[in-house]
């Protein structure tokens, strides 16, 4: 079922190693099959309390009043935690690497921006008692108009989801509401292409659905420290996030994890740790906060949806001459990690192919849904779906075998990629050849002979003249603080920017396409010349 093709690229490898390359048993297998691998939830602590959160029933609403009077009197309740109890109740995950602005409270204070947003946390003796108390919290909502579509969100006059980003889009480089990629002159090339195909692709959100839900157990330790058993996928990321939100030095915490029941990207966001620790700080007792399955599925972060428009120009012989892409990441109500994925997505354009003219705009958009996060293939999975469906359509359009079409356009060693770095160590062609062979999918001799190590570079290594866009109007001021933040504003420094490149000499405007050129547009539902 798995075959190692040692014959390919053999000259680049030393296969005479002792441990590397062996199918050694997993270090954790004995623990797994005996049920003795220790996950965060397997820690049993004396006097442990249970934390549950009250979640918003509204997708977008102002919070007129939060009444916890009855909940406080409920049997078994040890502590009610509200936004004001969170030392720094505004954070964005990537502030740890200076990317983006704090935009998300741990507990909502004056407004909720997605259904399921945590408003109040309740720490009680038992889960049942915590549940009973959550049912007694009364919240008075003033519903606000909701936004669920990424393109609607970008229209002028759309309701503002997240006041940190008043245009409902993440701001890149303090200037743009999208990340750009510009390589060559895509419009000019599209105008001279034999065929132009424009299509729309949509990926729905995806839930990570690990069999172990997100959770943490925090307990007071000696010397004023807290020990935290956690399901996090990123231990120090979580430590530092908790230190920031709880406004204490990071060595206040002793995080223990490392054996996690599946993550797939869904255990990076550090959602349970800060509240569990805060609960332990406020009660002096161990506190456990674990997502239920419905919580995990609906209010645990998903991989966000993406909408992608691709417009390609292809010649009759199968060469793609231009690829123009507009992509929208649906980040949900807060940034989390989608902003970063959009940059990764831009870098991924135009897929593993050498195309001389590439144009990309990638947006990270805010809507009133559960904030999205990373997932296996983050920033790339949906784009690969769009690009590879598009490749199949293009091959069909020019009457080529899809395998041969891939090999014809594949990037090779020495080619210039659209993000202006040389392609090295490429192997797409060989993968296509081997997959064709395995599937008994016939491809012609010249394509069987192609190689990633041949015929790249040269004219394919050139950075083409790239016309400069007219510079967009600068967006809203970089720093916006909201009522959540009790600290004086601090300026988040973006990495210094290079000045925009000098405008290339404008390339001559292309003439009308040659006769017989077919142009399709699934986007506008028209077929035009």
């Amino acid at each position: 079922m798995l075959e190692l093709r040692k014959d390919i690229f053999a000259d680049e490898r030393d296969d005479n190693l002792k441990e590397i390359g062996k199918g050694t048993q997993r270090q954790d297998m004995l623990g797994h099959v005996t049920g003795t691998s220790t996950y965060f939830g397997d820690h049993k602590l004396q006097g442990m309390l249970h934390l549950k959160v009250v979640r918003s029933t509204q997708a977008h609403a102002r919070l007129r009043r939060i009444d916890t009077t009855d909940a406080e009197r409920s049997v078994g309740v040890r502590r009610i935690i509200r936004g004001a109890d969170v030392p720094r109740n505004l954070n964005t995950l990537l502030s740890l690497i200076n990317f983006g602005k704090d935009d998300e409270p741990s507990l909502a204070v004056d407004k909720v921006r997605y259904k399921g947003e945590p408003i109040v946390a309740i720490v009680a003796d038992s889960e049942r008692e915590a549940f009973e108390a959550t049912a007694k919290v009364r919240i008075d909502y003033e519903p606000l108009p909701t936004l669920f579509d990424v393109e609607e969100a970008l229209k002028p006059g759309a309701p503002v989801v997240n006041e940190t980003y008043p245009k409902n889009a993440f701001i890149y480089h303090d200037v743009y509401d999208h990340q750009r990629l510009r390589f060559g002159d895509a419009d000019a090339a599209l105008a001279t292409a034999d065929h132009v195909l424009e299509q729309r692709y949509q990926m729905s959100p995806i839930e990570h659905a690990p069999t172990e839900t997100n959770g943490a157990i925090a307990a007071p330790d000696t010397n004023g420290r807290y020990v935290v058993y956690t399901s996090t996928q990123a231990l120090f990321f979580s430590v530092d996030t908790c230190a920031k939100i709880l406004d204490v030095p990071s060595n206040t915490f002793h995080f223990i994890g490392g054996t996690v029941g599946g993550g797939f990207g869904g255990k990076v966001d550090t959602l349970t740790e800060p509240l569990a620790i805060l609960g332990a700080m406020l009660t002096g007792r161990p506190v456990r906060y674990v997502f239920g399955r419905e919580e995990e599925m609906q209010y645990g972060p998903p991989r966000g949806a993406e909408r992608i428009y691709i417009k390609d120009g292809v010649m009759r012989d199968g060469r793609i001459v231009a690829r123009k892409i507009r992509a929208y990441f649906d980040s949900g109500a807060y940034t989390r990690l989608s902003s970063y994925a959009a940059v990764k997505c831009a870098a991924h354009l135009p897929g593993p192919y050498t195309i001389p003219n590439v144009y990309g705009d990638v947006y990270c958009v805010f809507t009133n849904r559960t904030p999205a996060t990373a997932m296996r293939g983050f920033g790339v999975t949906a784009m690969d779906f769009a690009i590879e469906c598009q490749m199949d359509k293009l091959a069909h359009l020019v009457g080529m075998d899809p395998m041969e079409f891939r090999i014809l356009n594949a990037y090779r060693d020495g080619d210039m990629k659209a993000h202006r770095r040389e392609a090295k160590n490429t192997a797409l062609i060989e993968c296509v050849q081997v997959a064709a062979e395995k599937a008994k999918w016939p491809i012609r001799e010249e394509f069987r002979r192609a190689s990633s190590r041949k015929d790249g570079g040269g004219s394919r290594a050139v950075i083409p003249p790239t016309p400069a866009d007219s510079r967009a109007r600068p967006a809203a001021p970089a720093q916006q603080r909201t009522t959540y933040d009790r600290l004086p504003p601090t300026i988040t420094r973006e990495p210094p920017r290079e000045p925009p490149p000098p405008a290339s000499p404008p390339s001559p405007r292309p003439t009308a396409p040659s006769h017989g050129a077919a142009r399709f547009s699934s986007v506008f539902g028209t077929r035009r010349r």
Partner: protein, 272 residues
């Protein structure tokens, strides 16, 4: 307030406890009530159960079979005399759910659950319930139509006539996931044959309305006819008539209407 568990020796006492306490729920196999408790449903504060042996009795010897409400799907599957109910029983959950889930509980399971009940509806079953005012038998269709109001009653058993032949009763659950998946739609057909013609056709559908329902238009298309291609086609094209499916995570109302006839045709003509 913790949950109070009340265990009674007889179904009478259990029924009385159930009908006297709005916050009480009867615990059968646990697949509904324990799930609700685990998920923080604080409207349940009393769990009523009984060890009454009559609730777990199976009477499958005669032409009319009776299943105690507490009979599990695994027990139905273990009973050779209940072969006609094996397909619906096997379509419930995975093995653990079949070991736990009960015939009585299934009557209360909302969409996308409640597949066994679809079979019982096609078999014109009778539901024996014990309410605050004593025991009575209710036709299953009536029971399902008033299911919302049955929360305070205790189901004792269900009974139905045994189909005349294996051919006369057919069941199919359409699920996205195999072998264990939630119902997109569920179909059961009871087609007694008298003198070569269908007499007393019953077609029951799951996930085609808020509760399991009968496809009366399809039944009419079958009634009194020979089960040939034309009859099957007529029944299939009438299958969605009178249904009111909803959108849910497993499929849309549109999709359910589109495929119900296709699957009824396949079921009646013996196609995969």
């Amino acid at each position: 307030m913790a949950v109070t568990v009340k265990t009674f020796a007889s179904s009478n006492e259990a029924a009385a406890a159930l009908s006297s306490d709005r916050a009480a729920r009867y615990l059968g196999g646990g697949t509904l009530v324990m799930r609700a408790l685990n998920e923080g449903d604080v409207s349940i504060s009393t769990v009523v159960r009984t060890n009454d042996q009559t609730l777990t009795r199976i009477d499958a010897s005669g032409p009319r079979i009776t299943l105690g409400a507490g009979v599990t799907f695994a027990r139905v599957l273990a009973e050779r005399d209940l072969a006609f109910l094996h397909a619906p029983a096997r379509s419930i959950g995975g093995p653990a759910v079949r070991n736990m889930g009960t015939v009585g509980g299934n009557l209360f399971a909302p969409n996308p659950y409640g597949d066994f009940t679809v079979a019982l509806l096609a078999l014109d079953a009778t539901v024996a319930v014990q309410g605050g005012f004593g025991a009575r038998d209710i036709p299953i269709e009536e029971f399902l139509q008033s299911r919302e109001r049955q929360a305070g009653t205790l189901v004792l058993s269900v009974s139905c006539a045994r189909p005349a032949s294996a051919e006369a009763f057919r069941y199919r659950k359409i699920a996205r996931i195999k072998p264990k998946g939630g119902s997109v739609i569920t179909l059961a057909a009871h087609l007694p044959i008298s003198g070569g013609r269908i007499a007393g056709a019953r077609i029951a559908l799951g996930s085609m309305a808020p509760t399991q329902i009968r496809a009366r238009a399809a039944e009419r298309a079958l009634e009194g006819r020979i089960l040939d291609a034309a009859t099957i086609a007529a029944a299939a094209s009438a299958a969605s008539e009178g249904t009111s499916p909803s959108d849910n995570a497993l499929g849309s109302a549109w999709y359910r209407r589109e495929i119900v006839g296709v699957h009824l045709r396949r079921l009646l003509s013996g196609q995969e």
